[in-house]
Symmetry: D2
Subunit: 304 residues, 4 copies
């Protein structure tokens, strides 16, 4: 079944809040997300800033210990301009270099969704009207955390959250552990484009039209977000420092290969040894993000 | 001028050692490297294990404060088998998962340089004879460090060293700061292929035929290794934790954009903001490695 | 006013929950805390494990932007035995050493509160009945976090939480930022004794009789927990890695010296330069803890 | 035997350099050290800045695999003023706070060795002539590293080096692994006083009169520096981030308890669990330092 959902309330924590919509496993939802500052497709500020989320959506079949499958069917900017910070954050340069960073004016980018481009409009700089391809993505999405916590959308964890990974584009499937009845799925913080690491603290922040399909794998338990696209399977680790992100993601990939692909411990390691790839999510938020990837062409057949 | 050089001695530190060959800026050298265990193209152990290096090569024009330009013209495995560790290192998984790692037998890979493939021969595993493409690269290379230090080829720093970055393939140009008269260039630790992070502690370790062209940019001073290939310019940060690698590399990229491309501080940040990419070198050695990349197509014209 | 409060419910998150008691600024509360496993003074399990907290206490005068002052008047074990983990955690040893750690049996310690000692009862070891002094402390306490988050008592942050600092003993005064009306103060996770770093993952866990006096400093805003005892003022940083804990705590100490003691930026730095001390809270929880201390005898007079 | 040694050359790397003096195990040496800037007791600059070292001393009996025992018999400032940096380093505060740090003028401290005090003379500040007790210590000392490396005295490692630990005062005994024949002991970088963490990047830097007694334990191999004073045994970990320092130091302490005190793995962990203490060395140099301590009164009898 397909749902159209127009949000009227937003949450800035992921937590055990009252669902805004109840759906069944396999249903799709087309909805909108406001930008990180709470502005919608008209540019109006409709809710306070700080990665406000659309949702939560309650998936009837989902119970703690299951896995929620989120297919990102479509994500498209729904207004003509996005904003961004323009100066790299103090934590991504050498501490002794921080004083050389200029004071940050916000940047404005014109988005041409049809042409698939973003063009720098302001501030005035030596780059002129730099034009880059857009790659619309979800910066922050996930489920209600374990133990009935309610955690700010500034950060991330086992439940997803503010991961700011460039790979979360249309066509990608993402898996989350379910901690609460109904899973309670949230989404927001769309970026028209983003550099690796989100090193200025934002992508090109913009409101979006988004369609997702949510389904449940009963009785399947995972520890960290997983995902796949046409070419790769991947796992996501959220923590600080980056070393720990990589540890979480690598451990989860080994578990995945062992549990779903039937590899023993040695074979799983051997497969990763020369084939593994890593991507950087953000190195700006309270928890950073790294992604462990494996090309599908090297995978053995999945068990059932 | 082109030199053929057959090494007879090897160093396991990068330091102010007696040069094995003196060349002029712009000269090329074709030589060989032994594998990380000190074995040559015949499989004979000719020097103790631990990333033994060919060199150092003394470049006549190079003086402290200059930049050494290393063009990797060719790197080709020169024997039919390479070896690797086969189990992920304890430091790349969650500490609580370490006890689940099997005890590491070494892996053997058959290399077909003509076909461009590596095939897993041992140990016996569920992967059978997994075949992957080779991407021959230099794991460890660089110049004598500052302050007349002599530093183990296990680690890395501003001078290069054991960076284990998959991008150091033929066709890549790498820039190193010069600290000693003649620069004193070393190279070794070839990998037929390698996963990101070198998470088992090795790539497919093998002896190589290597050709490099060395030249000097007088009076140009850089702080960290830089490089470029057809599509990207990049900078390299070596440290622990990964966060600090990224800080070093990002800072060096900002400096590069400001010094060579004439960008002011705001423009340099704006350019990186939505266009920057990061790659992971190793997360195994005493110093880890991350690479900051920028697509050349977004670069302004270089000054001069 | 002095309140006797007997808890019947416990929370395992710090969050905006319904207060169990409303008091006025300057009031004292004598109450009990269960141990980390939810066991009370009789040894009965009265609530699920995971640092269950007594509270929250609502302090009438406290509003967001104020500071809550917590004087720990008394903390005394109220049963004769405590428990502990007995083997160091995998994250506090070298990754390559983890496989040498034995499998952890729980330890049992007999507590003699009158004599002020803890004696190792089990498991049987070469230490025999090792007897050490007790130093009863609060492992986890604090206020409801900002942004109406509800955060697990496994971790810590600006609001306090699971800091596991040996300095939180009777006679110590602790300051917390107020984020919610009434501050909403929680306390629990008492330790009869603890090593620095809580490197086995527990202190000697035991239920406690605790008396605290809570008061409010109106209009005074702080960023991280602060504290003082007879000899020192101190600030607390909670994060990962330890480097970031130290950064938070040092920054907060500089702010304190500038705001309350009227020091300019140079004088504050000069004072810390040769006089600062650091203590380690825990290096086990999701967020670690470090404490920045300054001897009171070197302090200038406080402004008003 | 007791040697008087007046240095005329200094090294800024620890490495396999020509010995300046050959002694026998059990001999004492009284000598001088210049300050970190290369200035001697007269205030004259006699060698370039950067922690120049007196030595190396060759101890006849020492061979790789042995342990060198360094008893710090005396360390006393030998001139009336020391210098220090006066502003906390950018890496010890929050990255977002760095811009608020003032530009660092050097500080000057008058040393009264007889009274045991240091008094702040310059720059002018709100502290006036702050007077603090001196605790003369060695900031940088150790042996030639493994693998014939020569490593800058800016940093530290298994061989010792620039650890900047306040505990290295007279009366302390320090143990180093021996990597080179004769051990090749160096010492320098004296501090009249120092805050924990050396967070401004210096202690009160001053030239010293130092007496050490050097002896060799044949056939005893250790991995990291160890030490003891009247009350504690301790181990030293040098690395980044602080987490890794703590891992190295804790692992070495477990090894010590097992090897020298005959404890099994469980007993060693149990002993540390509630009794361990940690101190911070520096959090400024390329490698940071943490120290793991155990009170001697809880130790079982040493074997043999």
């Amino acid at each position: 079944m397909h749902h159209q959902f127009i949000p009227t309330t937003y949450y800035r924590n992921l937590g055990p809040y009252e669902p805004v919509l109840r759906i069944r496993s396999g249903d799709s939802v087309s909805t909108t997300t406001v930008d990180a500052a709470g502005c919608d497709q008209t540019g109006a500020t409709v809710t306070p800033r700080g990665n406000p989320q659309t949702g939560p959506f309650f998936v009837e079949e989902a119970e703690p210990g299951d896995t929620l499958v989120v297919k990102i069917d479509q994500i498209r900017p729904n207004r003509p301009t996005g904003w961004a910070r323009s100066v790299v954050a103090p934590n991504v340069v050498d501490p002794s270099f921080v004083k050389q960073l200029p004071d940050p004016p916000l940047a404005e980018w014109a988005i041409n969704a049809a042409a698939g481009t973003a063009t720098l409009i302001a501030p005035s700089s030596q780059l002129g009207q730099l034009t880059i391809p857009i790659e619309p993505m979800l910066g922050c999405f996930g489920v209600a955390p374990f133990r009935q916590q309610a955690i700010s959308t500034a950060t991330s964890g086992e439940y997803g959250g503010n991961m700011d990974y460039r790979g979360f584009v249309a066509g990608t499937t993402v898996y989350f552990p379910v901690f609460e009845p109904g899973a309670l799925f949230f989404l927001g913080d769309g970026h028209a484009a983003q550099g690796d690491g989100e090193i200025v603290g934002t992508g090109i922040e913009i409101s979006m039209d988004v369609t997702v399909t949510l389904s449940v794998i009963k009785g399947k338990s995972i520890a960290w977000p997983r995902g796949e696209n046409a070419d790769f399977i991947f796992t996501v680790g959220n923590a600080r420092p980056l070393d720990q992100c990589l540890q979480h993601a690598t451990t989860e990939m080994l578990r995945w290969l062992e549990q779903d692909y039937g590899l023993d411990s040695l074979s799983a390691s051997l497969l990763l040894s020369q084939c593994v790839r890593y991507d950087l999510g953000n190195m700006f938020d309270p928890a950073y993000t790294m992604v462990c990837k494996l090309p599908k062409r090297f995978l053995p057949a999945k068990r059932h």
